[in-house]
């Protein structure tokens, strides 16, 4: 059975939002090799988003297109994890201005990458053949993303005093957002019920193992998490997504109906 469209949009929104964030480093990376690597990671995510939106648009029919889904839906319609929309810095309000922090970028890519190698691996076996094909391609990319990010988490954690401090601060800041991975949503539940989606909650132990092993090697401490659980995948976001979408969608929305 095919996965429901809302589930595909959740996967697509994750990819486009993180792709948009990582592309912000293009031209500003800490070293040329990393500038190129991050652009490549971003490109993979934009590519995943395109395939997923195209699949969703085909199944929705009518006048749906990948760009209508990416550019003409509002904040509350986006179903991405809140983790992915946060700017590359510590906890600050939506309109605060701050320098980008590479540790935040890397730790986010690590936490999400560790999840997606598991999710794509599960979806590769989905009876939804179109989704399985996208998953097979995305799995290869996610493995590289995780490898890249985990290497840097270890270098930061076990590097200098400053890099350790920055990495620990990023882990402390971002870890609570990963709680959202393990909550349920109607779209995910429907996909799992249809036998076409990944049961993310069943992946928690495997995710813990990946994350704990790397954090230990990096001499970083996994924080205790309690309290608020983010709800981005329900369309209730942080203050940051509005700015991200405002920038991303502005030109396309200024010229509705135009072809680019």
């Amino acid at each position: 059975m095919n996965a429901p469209v809302d589930y595909i949009l959740h996967l697509a929104d994750n990819a486009v939002v993180l792709g948009q964030r990582n592309a912000e480093w293009c031209g500003h990376g800490p070293i040329l090799e990393e500038d190129i690597a991050l652009a490549n990671v971003s490109l993979d995510h934009i590519g995943q988003a395109r395939l997923l939106y195209q699949l969703a648009a085909t199944r929705m029919g009518g006048d749906a297109t990948e760009d209508k889904l990416a550019y003409f839906r509002d904040e509350t319609q986006f179903r991405n994890y809140t983790l992915l929309e946060l700017p590359h810095n510590g906890p600050l309000v939506g309109y605060a201005v701050s320098d980008r922090d590479y540790a935040t970028t890397i730790v986010r890519n690590f936490l999400y990458g560790a999840l997606m190698v598991l999710v794509w691996d599960a979806l590769e076996k989905s009876p939804d053949a179109d989704l399985a094909a996208i998953a097979a391609k995305s799995l290869k990319e996610a493995r590289y993303h995780l490898h890249h990010a985990a290497d840097w988490v270890v270098r930061f954690g076990d590097g200098t005093e400053e890099s350790h401090k920055r990495a620990q601060a990023a882990v402390d800041h971002l870890f609570p957002y990963t709680e959202e991975f393990w909550t349920s949503s109607a779209a995910e539940d429907a996909a799992v019920a249809a036998g076409a989606g990944a049961d993310v909650r069943s992946l928690r132990a495997a995710w813990d193992a990946i994350v704990n092993e790397t954090l230990a090697e990096a001499t970083l401490v996994r924080p205790q998490v309690r309290g608020y659980v983010p709800e981005g995948k329900h369309g209730r976001h942080s203050e940051h997504l509005g700015y991200l979408l405002g920038e991303m969608q502005g030109l396309a929305r200024a010229h509705p109906g135009a072809t680019w």
């Binding site: 070293i31 490109l43 395109r50 400053e162």
Partner: protein, 335 residues
């Protein structure tokens, strides 16, 4: 993307050391290889002035690629479709890749990337001044591909036959990618020119702003090009600035016609006698102002590169510290 700055000294007014008049055996062998249109490789003996000229030229070229990421990077977050966003990220990433292998090619001449970056960041080393102009609407991205990369290809094709092996090999790869960049830029503009009036106006606006800057990219007129003769002798430069400029104009005029844009030069017309297009006067005063650091975006571009480098210091330090720790651990284990 490319630098016009082949003929622009990093320190204007300072003459390059001239070739020694005492001809050693090594020098004779070098000259003979140049005359035979052979390649000079890193391990070969070469005159100091040849080495210096190449380091200056290749590093200027590498800097241009890296600074050139910024004007186009300006539109990545706002690209109006996911397809165009992906193309643009891939393109800007390609420019970073060009920078990487050009720095590597220059390193074979005995200058480190850090030394070259220091030259850029201190303002001593030049980069292509085309990147000191702002990108003000989405069509700038397409026009950069069509005209700026188009001009770059004109300039760079001859460099594939440059006498210095690592540079010529790097240029072969760079040219292939630039050719793709040019076609994607032109294709993006074709789509816009078939679109709404607002889209067509964007394309014309971008062409109006960038046309003359692209012509200046080929460097000063031959009559005012101090290093050209030596560069030609050494097989580093193959075709003169004015010849390349003419070739570019002749190739571009019909493309503009197909596109449906007007090139902003009332003097631009076909000269039957010359079998070339005549064109108007380039504003060299404005060009030199920009080369000397006083264009619209010079300070922003350079400060942005410096900031990225400085902000990234802790990342590079962490990588080095971690590697050292790993080495120490390995030594301890071995002991």
């Amino acid at each position: 993307m490319y630098t016009q700055a082949m003929d622009i000294p990093d320190e204007p007014g300072k003459k390059l050391a001239s070739v020694s008049t005492t001809v050693s055996d090594q020098e004779a062998a070098f000259e003979a290889r140049i005359d035979a249109d052979g390649r000079i490789e890193p391990q070969d003996w070469m005159p100091e002035a040849y080495r210096k000229t190449l380091v200056r030229q290749i590093s200027q070229h590498a800097h241009s690629e890296i600074v050139g990421m910024l004007p186009e990077g300006n539109w990545i977050s706002r690209a109006p479709s996911l397809k165009r966003k992906a193309i643009l990220i891939a393109k800007v990433q390609d420019e970073g890749g060009h920078g990487l292998y050009l720095y590597s090619a220059a390193e074979t001449l005995g200058t480190s990337r850090d030394q070259m970056l220091e030259g850029l960041h201190s303002g001593k080393a030049k980069y292509s001044s085309i990147f000191n102009y702002p990108t003000l609407n989405w069509a700038d991205v397409g026009v950069i591909g069509w005209l700026v990369d188009g001009a770059a290809i004109m300039n760079q094709i001859p460099l594939c036959r440059c006498s210095y092996g690592p540079y010529s090999r790097a240029m072969i790869r760079v040219c292939k990618e630039e050719s793709f960049h040019q076609r994607q830029g032109y294709e993006a503009l074709l789509v816009m020119m078939q679109g709404t009036e607002a889209q067509k106006a964007m394309v014309q606006d971008a062409v109006n702003r960038l046309w003359w800057k692209c012509l200046a990219m080929f460097g000063p007129p031959d009559s005012d090009s101090p290093h050209s003769a030596q560069g030609m002798r050494w097989g580093i430069k193959r075709i003169s600035n004015d010849e390349l400029r003419q070739k570019f104009i002749d190739a571009t005029v019909p493309q503009a016609k197909v596109l449906g844009v007007t090139l902003p030069d009332p003097d631009l017309k076909w000269n039957e006698e010359r079998q070339h297009h005549d064109y108007g006067q380039i504003d060299w005063q404005e060009f030199w102002n920009t080369v000397e650091g006083n264009g619209p975006c010079n300070k922003e571009r350079l400060a942005t590169r410096v900031k990225a480098h400085n902000d990234g210091q802790w990342v590079r330090d962490a990588a080095l510290a971690y590697t050292r720790k790993q080495q120490q651990r390995a030594q301890k284990e071995a002991a």
